[in-house]
Subunit: 369 residues, 2 copies
């Protein structure tokens, strides 16, 4: 087995964790390989605050061999070097005299300088970037590097880029298999959906997660609602206000005073006060507020104007575009991005095509920033 | 071998023809199979005015066996029953006492009732529709059924459905491999490109066929040019007016009087006089004029307004949409279809997804009407 093979094994181990048990931490897997190429220890990070992958792997290895000085540690993320919820892993590596460490990705946290500390102490550190590791921890990297949630934008459009006719009618553009994918893959992996009060009132969408066999799961929703329209009496009957036990509605508004209609007094609603500049949401402040309330991965399902604001703020990390085999022959039908200002072709945004998937007659195009 | 297998063999034979040698005729292949399942005769239609596939196959079979009464004829198109450029094939089939004929597609020409005549004369006729046969002769079927050219629309757009920024700049949206596909596959198979004077003047496009190794071929161009702008002195230097030996420029205009600038007096330009109703081209009349001048397959490469008119006239048989990984965040950038009238989602056009092809970071989506 090559170093890449061992590291890939550590990667596979890391994926055993359930992301909702470890967030905001990343997936991490580690293995210890002795001089004969045998794997004598394995570990993965399973629970926020629980043992790190390296610790579990080293402890398992020590049960088999007392001297690890000829062993190699393969770990998918740079080992930590600071006291967080657990002591630094670099200490343990040095204590057991491990002489070689192969790392699958660097920790973007500036507090972590595990690689440097190991090198200073004479450990041979090899950095092998495996694309699958970066892909698996894409949310963690964006959270750490940009101090904001990872944003996925979901759009279903006609083949000419319209998401609704000029009256806002959009039901249903995409087919049932595409909608199934949205529920089971996109919504089920997100911490919340982000949308606008306008979209919610227009579509009367429930925005929960509908899985196979009529099982449905709650999902928090962040609603851009500058005038707090959702708190008005006439909107108390919206499908969004289904009984919630473990999710919330967050309303984003610049207003500090709020009047909640009686029907919603007991409902799990929270206000996120965020300034609007010239009518435009301050996305930088929203980003901070969302991280504060432990929202790390957001699925945007909204209208062209909100999509356009997030694009402008460079806050679309992934775009899931469902191209449907339809045409609305009307240039005033609503586009994927509705921005009134001029943009030249040269100043346009370039995305990276990541995946193409045929879903019956819809085509899912996945782009990355 | 099954009947489908034999018919597929006849189909493969038919594809040996060069479409430009037989147009407006379709591809036709035929084989004669004896009672032992051996193929004793083969033929395909090779040249307009030349022998039909059945005739060649029967003649070849007669060299091997004098009695064809126990043979089956497999032919990809219903045999002709009228005197055209050659005598009716049904006569020959009956004369040689062939008792069984398997047909791959019906002839849409109302003058052809080969199947009925054969049946009336006691021949067992089996109709097996093979999709590959209909696909191969798609141009012929549209020409015959709708008395108009087969229209392919080629579009390169941003992922949000924009073909140019609001100033009309569109160079280059698609990548070089996509553009190569346009030249080598789409343009090289078309009888002409259809576009507008506006597009030609804006892009100064040559609209010829550029193949590998810097070989280029001429291609006729039909230009919607109501005011005959291309005949004006200031436009005589356009790249479109390269030296032509076997192609023409057709200008579509409602005007009967024309003033050609001196530089273009000798140039192969022809006027197609077509009425415009309230500024809108009468596509039905254009269709007739194009068939009259032997234009059977047209590639539309134009702007959003012309695309929209052809969509409205139900004259887009195939759409080749190159989705590029770019976004122009401006709702006034030019869309694939630019129509100013309201259209609801329900009234929108439904196309059929035919093919998805990744071309580096572009995605080619092929739709059929």
């Amino acid at each position: 087995m090559t170093q890449e093979d061992y590291l890939h094994k550590a990667f596979l181990l890391s994926t055993k964790a359930n992301i909702k048990d470890i967030r905001p931490n990343p997936y991490v897997g580690a293995i210890i390989v002795n001089e004969n190429g045998e794997i004598i220890g394995e570990g993965f990070h399973k629970l926020l605050g629980g043992a790190h992958a390296e610790v579990i792997a080293i402890q398992e290895a020590l049960k088999k061999e007392s001297d690890l000085s000829n062993c190699t540690l393969y770990v998918t993320l740079e080992p930590c070097s600071h006291y967080g919820k657990t002591p630094p892993c670099t200490n343990l590596i040095l204590a057991h005299n491990i002489k070689k460490v192969v790392i699958g990705s660097l920790d973007p946290n500036p507090k972590v300088s595990g690689m440097a500390i190991l090198k200073e102490n004479g450990v041979l550190v090899i950095e092998l970037q495996l694309p699958e590791i970066n892909e698996l921890n894409k949310v963690f990297f964006i959270n750490q590097l940009n101090h904001r949630p990872f944003y996925q934008l979901k759009v279903a459009s006609t083949l000419n880029g319209k998401i609704a006719d000029r009256n806002g009618v959009s039901k249903w553009l995409s087919n049932s298999q595409s909608r199934k994918f949205v529920h089971e893959t996109l919504r089920d992996n997100a911490d919340c959906i982000l949308t606008t009060a306008k979209t919610i009132i227009k579509d009367n969408a429930k925005l929960n997660i509908r899985l196979a066999n009529e099982i449905s799961k709650e999902l928090s929703v962040v609603v851009i609602d500058p005038n707090l329209d959702l708190l008005k009496n006439e909107n108390a009957g919206l499908a969004l206000f289904y009984p919630r036990a473990n999710s919330k509605i967050y309303l984003v508004t610049p207003l500090s005073n709020q009047t909640i209609c009686p029907a919603l007094k007991e409902y799990p609603i929270e206000i996120l006060q965020v300034p609007f500049n010239e009518g435009k949401l301050d996305i930088t402040i929203l980003n901070k507020k969302l991280i504060e309330i432990n929202i790390y991965q957001v699925l945007i399902e909204a209208g062209g104007k909100l999509n356009s604001s997030f694009l402008e703020a460079n806050c679309i990390d992934e775009l899931y575009l469902f191209v449907t085999p339809k045409i609305i022959n009307d240039n005033q039908a609503i586009g994927i991005f509705e921005n009134e200002h001029y943009q030249s072709l040269l100043d346009g945004k370039k995305m990276q095509l990541h995946k193409v998937k045929k879903i019956e007659e819809d085509v899912l195009l996945v782009y990355k920033n």
